[in-house]
């Protein structure tokens, strides 16, 4: 590993000023499951790592009046074991309990997963389906951005130099809402997804008519994306097999997968069609 200093500020302001002081050579580190691996592989060589682990109040899961706030430093393991997440937001549990291993989940954070911005980030897709926003604090300003606008390209986000992702804000869900995530892999564990599909559905009191639908797709475009055409098909209709088939087809058409070592584009499209339908069914079963 290259030489680096390792700094452990205790406030956000201190972290930001250290980042400004070290400029180009500075890099924030959360759980480090990505940063340390990249340093070891020689892909990056920062002069100074600024740890975010000691900032106060960034590792809380707060559920108040239906609104959920998740601190950026919350680990995948904390989410996986949280009763609020398991009971009220099982779509997130679906995703985080299948990230890496227990050892990875014990240290890797949801903030790091999102800032990494790889198309296969398991955390991104369910959060997009939940309509999450991110709160960011930087040298100049604090701002709130919709998560789906946060990603710009593979590995690229709209974070400006020195900005820290502070928390995720998930708005109150409509009544009768359910959501589910599917991570499609070849092995049972320790693999990045070939494809990730999250579907959120809200139903009317009749428990049939869809009042809101949000579909997140991962690994089928340069950034995690929403399948808005498929959503439009579901919204307002009575959800049955035929409508689900239509929505699945629409999602398969609007995604933009590529051939890669983990899967061919045609296969990804076929699986999008299938898993949009399956996850919609699970989402409806979960709606109560």
């Amino acid at each position: 590993m290259n030489d680096f200093e390792y700094l452990m500020p205790t406030t956000i302001n201190e972290a930001i000023s250290l980042h400004e002081k070290y400029g180009e050579g500075a890099k924030y580190i959360a759980g480090g499951t990505d940063v340390i691996v990249k340093i070891k592989e020689g892909k990056i060589s920062p002069q100074c790592l600024i740890s975010l682990r000691h900032l106060q109040g960034l590792d809380n899961i707060i559920y108040e009046k239906g609104e959920l706030r998740i601190g950026a430093m919350v680990t995948h393991r904390m989410l996986e074991l949280s009763p609020v997440i398991r009971n009220e937001f099982p779509v997130l549990a679906d995703a985080v309990e299948n990230i890496g291993s227990v050892q990875i989940r014990n240290v890797a954070t949801i903030g790091g997963n999102i800032v990494n911005a790889v198309p296969s980030a398991d955390g991104a897709v369910p959060l997009i389906a939940l309509g999450a926003e991110v709160r960011v604090i930087g040298p100049k300003e604090a701002r709130i951005i919709a998560l789906e606008d946060f990603f710009i390209g593979p590995g690229q986000t709209s974070l400006k130099t020195g900005e820290i992702l502070v928390e995720f804000l998930i708005p109150k869900l409509l009544s009768h809402t359910g959501a589910a995530y599917w991570k499609h892999t070849r092995r049972a564990a320790m693999e990045l997804p070939i494809l990730g599909v999250a579907v959120l559905i809200s139903l009317d009191d009749d428990m049939k008519t869809c009042t809101e639908a949000r579909i997140g797709l991962g690994v089928v475009a340069p950034t995690p994306m929403r399948a808005k055409n498929a959503e439009a098909i579901l919204k307002g209709s009575k959800v049955d097999e035929e409508i689900l088939k239509k929505a699945g087809k629409a999602a398969a058409q609007e995604c933009k997968p590529r051939d890669s070592s983990r899967g061919k584009a045609w296969y990804r499209r076929d699986m999008v069609e299938l898993f949009v339908q399956r996850m919609a069914k699970v989402a409806m079963e979960r709606a109560h």
């Binding site: 290259n2 030489d3 390792y6 499951t33 340390i36 592989e41 890496g100 050892q103 014990n106 240290v107």
Partner: protein
């Protein structure tokens, strides 16, 4: 490179290390404390050979920055048997059930399963398998390892 000082509890004893800030916990354990039970397999979080327990949780020490253990409690395979040398039920069970073949994965396997049993003394087979999903073994085919962990859980129950 200038060294930094880090103090933490290691297998029950308060210790201080003087190491470069870019060292990992694994490197510090093996090269500063000469505790070579935790192994370096992949060095990048994939294989689990370097697993140790930090404040009750299993982690990959090969990607854990040393300064982050300041004030924490670290347990390695060397701290699993009691001070009088009596083996932990997991160690006994791995020996009795052929959970150990070449032994390279063993310390990591035992640390992952210890973290599991410490939190959940009566795990299902699925929970056992999930707890060691990040520990690769090239020898056993995992069956004997899962049996060993089940057996250790029974031994612990009977001790109580």
């Amino acid at each position: 490179m200038k060294k930094v000082s880090v103090s933490f509890t290691l297998n029950g004893d308060l210790v201080t290390a003087e190491v470069p800030p870019n060292w990992t916990l694994l490197k510090t354990l093996r090269e500063y404390f000469e505790l070579t039970g935790a192994k370096e397999g992949c060095g990048v979080g994939e294989c689990g050979a370097c697993t140790v327990i930090v404040d009750g949780d299993a982690i990959n020490s090969c990607i854990y920055p040393i300064l982050e253990v300041e004030g924490k409690s670290v347990t390695t395979i060397e701290g699993v048997a009691s001070k009088d040398g009596a083996l932990h039920p997991l160690q006994k069970a791995f020996l009795e059930n052929n959970g150990v073949q070449c032994g390279f994965c063993t310390s990591g396997m035992i640390m992952s399963s210890k973290a599991l049993l410490d939190h959940n003394p009566d795990p299902t087979e699925d929970e056992i398998r999930a707890s060691i999903a990040g520990n690769l073994c090239r020898c056993t085919g995992y069956v004997q390892i899962v049996e060993s962990i089940k057996n250790a859980a029974e031994m612990i129950k009977q001790e109580k």
